[in-house]
Amino acid sequence: MNFDYTDEQNMLRDSIAKWAAGQYDFDKRRAALASEDAWKTNWATFAELGLLAAPLPEEFGGLGGGAIDISVVTEEFGKALVVEPYVPTVVLGGGALNYAGSAAQKEEHLNAIAAGERIIAFAQAEPKSRWTLHDVSTTAKKDGAGYVLNGHKAVILGAPQADHLLVSARTAGGQRDAKGISLFLVPKNAHGISTRDYPTMDGSRAAEVYFENVSVGAANLIGDADNALALIERIVDEANAAYNHEAVGCMRMMTSSTQEYAKQRKQFGKAIAEFQVIQHRLVDMFMASEESYSMALRATIKLSESDAERAKAVSAAKVSIGQHGRFVGQAAVQIHGGMGVTDEMRVGHYFKRVTMIDATFGNVDTHLKRYTALGAKAA
């Protein structure tokens, strides 16, 4: 066993922390959120720092790292409350291309991702699909050598910034059939695609995406037609693993900043950290953060195991982190008292971010069910 990060991974962590302290502090972040294209500057920096290239294969402009490298990036992003669409582009887009793309597709897109010149959003969820990955109503009908896409994709994270969309669409079967789903990578400016952009609860951006008779070629298909579900499950597990680490970063910051606040805030003639009820709550927050990190790490390490092992570990972590994130967020706000519910305190923004992550690709209940179902299958 070895729980050590490599020197390169430690350097990666330090470089992000340094950038965030200088260029992404609370006020600069707030200004960036209010601006239409401040994210472009940050994205260029991500490319310079090698964050986009980190997990991608070396032959296509990457640095040949893996899931641990991603976890280092997202944990730091969690601490800094980064809202740029890193996971959609690198983990979901990059993952799909890396695992199933043709040599030509990899050549074209992975190099561009690594260089910061390609932003991808995963157009997967639909208005009535909730978080069920095989619930797909959007259709891709065969049309000569290519396909025609029609449908409505809901709450697509990063779609406002994206130049390409990774789209799940039904090429065969019924709405909730596991078979018959295909993946396409489509330029967002393709004829027939329209979007409605909006902010999300944590200050990120998302969009409703509408496909109306969008013609794509066979070259836009990623992997085999009809059989994309296993690939989708895999990249979504990897995305959840990355988001878990981001939530851990948020929890660690809430835990430490709430401790600091409790030491400074005086009521009844002493620091509120001296009250046992507050101490125990701070201890529970600390324990929740540590367990969350354990579960996040466990899932990240198991990403390379069998599909079933990977899925169980990710769902287990998602359950744990969803529950702990809610507890830590609520406790952090509570101990900050009235200040905790103000927009000016960072703690509320971490609370919103962990709430957002819980509602991304399945919440606690969804993953508790999935874990249970996987256990039943294994037994």
Binding site: A125, P127, K128, S129, R130, W131, T132, D135, A154, V155, L157, R176, R196, Y198, P199, T200, M201, A206, E208, K266, Q267, F268, G269, F275, V277, I278, R326, Q330, V333, Q334, G337, G338, G340, V341, T342, D343, E344, M345, G348, H349, F351, K352, T355, M356, A359, T360, N363, D365, T366, L368, K369
Partner: protein
């Protein structure tokens, strides 16, 4: 003992229900986000009730109350929740009003009570300070007597909806040498007085619901002090007990359970069936209903005690803790119910542009975030537990 309504009570319920249906402004039905309401929206129902004589049911009849029994008042709250009305704000009717009719002079009663009943005067609370939250008695805002008036200096905070207020009730320190609780006075201050500055505070849900209030050499006539000088803490304690009694919000929570059920019927769960048929969800909903029943029954017992003339006591802290916990759990469960459509955030859009997704989804996240305040305000739930430990259990 009997939990059923009598024939008279049922007739009363029908009368109230019919009145609400006939008179509640149609354009306000279903508005749930406070930040979307204008001052006029907040006051609309209050003013209608003022004309009818129903704006302050709990007040003694001689001051404009209705003389309803505890059961009738319970029915009244139920029916208002059922009609999803915007109730009269608590600051006048439930907070300063009872202080004035209990501790005020005849002149003060005559001067201030009518405006509270009619809804013509909007009241705000000046209690907490940046350094005095849970430890309210450590407040520092200073009032110095100069002839027939006080000069007030200091800062108050968390003044809910103070941006609309005409008048405020303030706790100020009039004796810096006395023991903390014994040097405080209760002042009514015209918010238009020179030296009063109100600054809205942006909350994490993106809205503006509370304010800082700065008082700089504000001149306040002595006849705007309620009760004796340095005896303001008596008024404050009385008011806090009143505030807690209404804080359980049972009727509203019952209504929100119904709202949640209708959302769960419209939403599709993980297995492709309506969410309302999902066993995990059903269990959480049942647990919530059971806990709400326990709260309701306890509140009815407290109400019965109160109408027997025993007044709200420290046990109202129990209602505050359990009531706010249930309110918060309801917001959590609603957030879970709407799934990924909880993510789009209406605060970032013009109100005309919403909704993204189903129309019930947009408010779920802001309400969830906003209601974290409930376990903090009115004396945090930690402080309420201290009160029960000390006052009820004698620990």
């Amino acid at each position: 003992m009997d939990l059923n309504f009598s024939a008279e009570e049922l007739a009363f319920r029908d009368e109230v229900r019919a009145f609400i249906e006939a008179n509640y402004p149609k354009h306000l039905k279903g508005k749930v986000l406070r930040e979307d309401l204008s001052k006029e929206d907040f006051l609309a129902w209050h003013k209608i009730l003022g004309k009818k004589g129903w704006s302050a049911p709990a007040w003694p009849v001689e001051y404009g109350g209705t003389g309803w029994t505890a059961t009738q008042r319970y029915i009244w709250l139920e029916e208002n929740a059922r009609g999803e009305t915007i109730p009269p704000l608590p600051f006048g009717v439930s907070m300063v009003g009872p202080v004035i009719y209990t501790f005020g002079t005849p002149e003060q009663k005559q001067r201030f009570l009518p405006g509270i009943l009619s809804g013509d005067v909007w009241w705000a609370q000046g209690y907490s300070e940046p350094g005095a939250g849970s430890d309210l008695a450590s407040l520092k805002t200073r009032a110095v007597r100069e002839g027939d008036h006080y000069i007030v200096n200091g800062q108050k905070t968390w003044t809910t909806l103070g941006q609309h207020a005409d008048w405020g009730f303030f706790l100020v320190r009039t004796d810096t040498n006395a023991k903390q609780q014994e040097g405080i006075s209760f002042l009514l201050i015209d918010m238009k007085s020179p030296g009063v500055t109100v600054r809205p505070i942006k909350l994490l849900d993106g809205g503006y619901e509370v304010n800082d209030v700065f008082l700089e050499n504000v001149k306040v006539p002595v006849d705007q002090r309620i009760y004796e000088e340095n005896k303001g803490w008596t008024c404050a304690k009385f008011l806090l007990a009143h505030e807690r009694a209404g804080i359980a919000g049972v009727a509203r929570s019952k209504r929100n359970v119904e709202r949640l059920k209708s959302i769960a019927k419209a939403e599709i769960g993980d297995d492709g069936k309506p969410l309302i048929e999902d066993e995990d969800f059903q269990r959480k909903l049942s647990q919530l209903e059971i806990d709400l029943s326990a709260l309701e029954m306890t509140e009815l017992r407290v109400l019965a005690r109160e109408s027997a003339g025993k007044g709200p006591g420290p046990e109202s802290s129990l209602l505050k803790i359990k009531g706010t916990e249930i309110q918060q759990r309801l917001t959590e469960l609603t957030l879970e119910a709407v799934g990924n459509y909880a993510q789009p955030y209406p605060r970032g859009l013009g109100s005309n542009e919403f909704p993204v997704g189903p129309d019930y989804a947009g408010a779920a996240a802001p309400i969830y975030f906003n209601w974290r305040k409930a376990s903090i305000y009115g004396g945090s739930n930690e402080i309420q537990r201290n009160i029960i430990a000390k006052m009820v259990l004698g620990l």
